[in-house]
């Protein structure tokens, strides 16, 4: 089974969600000064939503930089978005933007660090997803 790539800021919600999944995962570094992440196998991206409610600002800049790398981009297979339904129409917007830009499916949205139910669904979903695309 291929892996996960995720991004998380200092509040660490997405990191905690990914840790609860317990699947192999690589983290996109927070700072420009860190060495950039390069992936070699197909992956699902887990990304929190930021910005001001506009699609142009929803995806965190380090994730954009990661996807601007053509090789990294060629290996993305799906996206899972973090967010909070309180943001209304902008809930999980980063997932919709990445899905659209990279022409991959938006697989799931979860809030904050995710509940046990979210973990359960994503584990089942991811397993099934890789089986199908094998």
């Amino acid at each position: 089974m291929a892996g996960l790539v995720y991004f998380s800021t200092k509040s660490g919600n997405t990191r905690r969600f990914v840790e609860k999944l317990g699947l192999p995962a690589s983290r996109i570094p927070l700072n420009r000064s860190d060495p950039p992440l390069q992936v070699e196998t197909p992956y699902i991206l887990v990304v929190p939503t930021y910005g001001d409610g506009d699609p142009r600002s929803a995806v965190p800049a380090p994730v954009i930089r990661f996807l601007n790398d053509e090789h990294n981009r060629s290996l993305i297979r799906g996206v899972i978005a973090g967010g909070n339904t309180n943001f209304g129409e902008a809930f999980g917007l980063a997932g919709r933007v990445v899905a659209n830009k990279c022409r991959v499916p938006l697989l799931y949205r979860f809030e904050l660090m995710g509940t046990a139910e979210d973990v359960h669904r994503v584990l089942a979903g991811v397993t099934e997803f890789w089986k199908r695309s094998a």
Binding site: S11, G12, N68, T85, N86, F87, A99, K101, G125
Partner: protein
């Protein structure tokens, strides 16, 4: 409680704030989103709700006004006591500035309920509801439970109480305008409430984030004690919140669904503090109409793992003209 106050609780000197020298870049990120979100009730055409208001029964109108006076009380507390004590506890000048924004926005929230009242309601009915809220033991108790913590002089307890106010206690009230909106009633009022709900998300997130940063500095046993304390306070607030909910919603038969909404939001409040959710999925299944009213349009492209589709859906085009993207 003997909390270490060592963490330089007060900025004992006032230095001119420099936004180009940040100790914590979250401060600027949150400041930008909060100021970008700025709104005033005048921008919402509330008077378009007058016809819908007149279709509500007298009892439904009374319930709605009572719910809004309850929300007004919480925003008043947060604007005049909660956010100001958090300013005192701030560790950086930028954090102080963020809390001044939060404090002011709470006053905008509190003020906007009065705009709804003056647009839709008879003065006498509103006066009655204010009297009701002053006398309702559960509303008064929830205010007291929070104010007690705010008076405790303990930065971590204050933040726990504050996150519970921002991310949990409002929701017995927010339910009703979402319910009306799902029935195509008071939709402009619902637009205004959604602006408040969005603000509260950032408030809860930010206060919870600052809480976690401070908590992480403490020894493990102390962290564990504080976590237990947080769950205890949540239970105490929850027990009272259930009674408040019953007092309001039993007559209209909505209590059970409101409770699910409480559970759902209690989980999110805990997560804002960095703690695991408490209520299992079996009691957080808020009716889909309410969730759709909360984030309208965001479920157009259902996510695949939720099991609603048989093929993967790729999002509809959203414009992302931006220099950052290189493709």
């Amino acid at each position: 409680m003997d909390m270490p106050t060592s963490a330089a609780r007060h900025l004992n000197r006032v230095d001119a704030i420099n936004w180009n020298r940040l100790q914590d870049d979250k401060d600027l990120e949150v400041w930008n989103r909060l100021t970008g979100n700025f709104w005033l009730p005048e921008k919402i055409p509330l008077s378009n709700d007058i016809p819908a208001w007149n279709t509500l029964t007298e009892h439904e109108q009374q319930l709605t006004i009572r719910v809004f006076t309850g929300l007004t009380l919480l925003d008043t507390i947060q604007g005049t006591v909660g956010a100001p004590v958090l300013i005192e506890d701030a560790l950086t000048p930028h954090e102080e500035a963020v809390f001044t924004n939060i404090s002011f926005m709470e006053s905008v929230h509190a003020r906007s309920y009065s705009s709804i009242f003056s647009t839709l309601c008879a003065t006498r009915d509103v006066d009655d509801a204010y009297r009701w809220s002053e006398e309702n033991p559960f509303l008064q108790k929830k205010a007291e439970l929070i104010l007690e913590r705010y008076r405790s002089e303990d930065p971590l307890m204050r933040k726990i109480a504050s996150v519970f106010l921002e991310s949990f206690l409002f929701y017995s009230g927010f339910y009703l305008p979402m319910y009306w909106s799902s029935r195509a009633k008071l939709t402009n009022t619902a637009d205004l409430i959604r602006l408040i709900i969005r603000d509260e998300a950032i408030h809860g997130y930010y206060i919870g984030y600052k809480f976690q940063r401070q908590l992480a500095q403490l020894p493990a046993e102390r962290q564990e004690e504080i976590k237990i304390y947080a769950y205890e306070l949540l239970h105490e607030l929850y027990d009272n919140e259930v009674k408040y909910t019953e007092a309001l919603y039993d007559d209209v038969g909505l209590t059970e669904d409101v409770k699910k909404f409480l559970h759902y939001n209690a989980n999110k409040a805990l997560m804002n503090l960095g703690f695991e959710a408490l209520f299992p999925a079996s009691v957080t299944d808020v009716s889909p109409a309410i969730l759709a009213a909360l984030s309208p349009g965001s479920d157009e492209n259902h996510d695949f793992f939720s099991g609603s589709g048989s093929s993967y859906v790729i999002g509809k085009t959203v414009s992302t003209e931006d220099e950052d993207w290189a493709f």
